[in-house]
């Protein structure tokens, strides 16, 4: 067990470094230094002086090293667009909001997805199954920002227009009722993935020999499902957590934009539009590292729950 966790943690370091390297290389290849772009009319010697001051004249590898070293201490430099605010401070202020939204989205997805998936598998080919599969395929294929907009149009404009009762605001993050629509928009896609996966995993287990044995010895159907099927069917669902968290993280860009949620995703979008390089680099790196940590956590969790994984050695592919 300790060996398994150790291998996992050792894998984490090169993963994070390579994420940082890819991000850094792409940013290096991005044309225009902050002092030449944007119509700033500076003399070449001033540009050189500024670049020296910010360390942009040093060799690439040294710059990368110092970037990683500073980033590890939470220092991502100064935002170009919101000088003199530090990227680290902006992130510290906005990340909790995104995290909050992400946790709510994940909870919504997990509860809804598991319920739909289990109901569908238990009533296979029944009406419930048909309903959940249809809902899952709808949520799966409609992009989160399209769903967000349809929710916005429906609950903020049309239903109040027809009934005269308005409940939801056009956006914001002030009261808990503002949390509802973004959570649904963000969680719907993951919900569909969980539902589909749970359903097929359940059906696989229901057809297995030990479930047939359990039924043959006269156990009540409810007991078979709860004690034998659920426990084994839900283990593989945990592997979904990694991709789901990635979907939640990137989904937050668009959902936060639509519902005016003051989180990191919305800041990232405005930084993209303003070409605020340190901000972009910082946010991508933080999301990348956050997801790597989460994947590490999921791997370890999976190893604890399912002994077959940790006995088969380090890498699970």
């Amino acid at each position: 067990m300790i060996r398994y966790i150790g291998i996992r943690i050792l894998w984490f370091i090169p993963t994070v470094l390579s994420i940082a390297a890819v991000v850094f290389i792409i940013m290096q290849a991005t044309p225009g230094s902050p002092f030449t772009s944007g119509g700033a009319n500076m003399r070449p010697e001033d540009v050189a002086r500024m670049e020296e001051q910010y360390g942009l004249d040093r060799p690439m590898i040294v710059q990368f090293g110092s970037y990683v070293w500073n980033a590890a201490r939470g220092d991502f430099g100064e935002s170009y667009a919101r000088r003199p605010q530090k990227v680290g401070n902006i992130v510290a202020r906005t990340f909790p909001v995104s995290f909050h939204l992400g946790v709510m989205g994940l909870t919504f997805a997990a509860i809804g997805g598991l319920t739909l998936g289990i109901l569908a598998a238990v009533n296979q080919n029944g009406i419930t199954d048909y309903f959940s599969v249809t809902l899952a395929i709808l949520f799966f294929s409609v992009p989160n920002f399209v769903l967000g907009i349809l929710l916005l149009l429906l609950f903020v404009f049309w239903i109040p227009g027809w009934t005269g009762i308005s409940f939801f605001n056009l956006g914001g993050w002030d009261s808990p009722k503002d949390w509802v629509l973004p959570t649904i928009a963000l969680g719907a896609g993951p919900l569909a993935i969980i539902a589909r996966y749970t359903r097929s995993s359940m059906i696989d287990v229901i057809r297995s020999d030990y479930v047939r044995t359990a039924r043959a010895k006269g156990l009540a159907e409810q007991k078979v499902i709860l004690k034998h099927v659920l426990k084994n069917a839900l283990i593989p669902v945990i592997t979904l957590l990694g991709p789901l968290l990635a979907a939640l993280a990137t989904g937050s860009f668009f959902v936060e934009q639509i519902f005016a949620v003051p989180g990191m995703g919305k800041f990232f979008v405005t930084s993209m539009q303003a070409k605020d390089q340190p901000m972009i680099l910082g946010v991508v790196l933080i999301y990348g590292v956050f997801l790597a940590i989460m994947n590490l956590f999921v791997d370890v969790l999976y190893g604890i729950i399912d002994p077959r994984i940790r006995l088969s050695g380090g890498r699970g592919d």
């Binding site: 994420i19 390297a21 395929i137 399209v146 404009f157 539009q273």
Partner: protein, 309 residues
Amino acid sequence: MAASQDSNADHVSQAQLLSEAAEAAPTRQASLWGDAWRRLLRNKLAVIGMVIASMLILIAVFADVIAPYGYAETVAVDLRLTKPSWNFPMGIDQNGRDVFSRVVYGARVSLLVGVAAQLIVLAIGVPVGAMAGYFGGTLDTALMRLVDVVYAIPQLLLVLLIVNMRGPGMSTIFLAIGLTGWVTMARLVRGQMLSIREQEYVKASRVSGAGPGYIIMRHMLPNSMTPIIVALTFGIPTAIFIEASLSFIGVGIRPPQPSWGQMVGTGQQYIRAVQHLMLFPSIAIALTMLAFTFLGDGLRDALDVRLND
């Protein structure tokens, strides 16, 4: 991976397979596609998907004929932001342009992105996966570590970085989606190669002196066709989704060229006044994604492919 190493059985079946492969291969292949086609037609959702997708392709190809106005044409300045009416079924936008015409032209952008990005994915992913899977060893390790690195970062984040590097525009989007999307294809093809490499007909071909290029092109790729086709079908909605997302936040297709995502994004600025600007392109995106997902699901079942994702 789980190929049997029973050498006696190998001798017998190699001889059999050599003779069978010469005669039976073409008919078997034809019946595979015929069966798949029949199974696909029996799947209602897949047929719906196929119908919508074909309509989209027709709309994209004949956009000039279908759209009553040009996508950048100012139809009526005094009617800016008017709601849908008989003459303008989807209303007029903030610049006095016909929304219906712009939605029609938007189909062109979406499908073009979907297809072009998949071509890049194919062009990078298949050779990398094939080489890694066929040759194995150090080459495999090196290529797969590269794949792991790209895989560790969510595709949308990488796409955003590349767009940030090259600036918005159609060619950037093809490139960004292609350069980040090939890893899935490479993994898939590698997995196929690993399992096919141990098959008896491949061994037979190698024994009779065929080189790696010939074996890969003649035997291994044709036998990996079905999962590749299914993966490509699923790749199209992914690419369309990424383009729509980028355009939605204003870093995708550059105006005045219309894209559904971009229309939704600009529509949001006028949401308090009118809602139809966002509604119709949103529906178009949702329908397109649904159609290709239905089709992909149907193809996967019809071709009986298990995608290990």
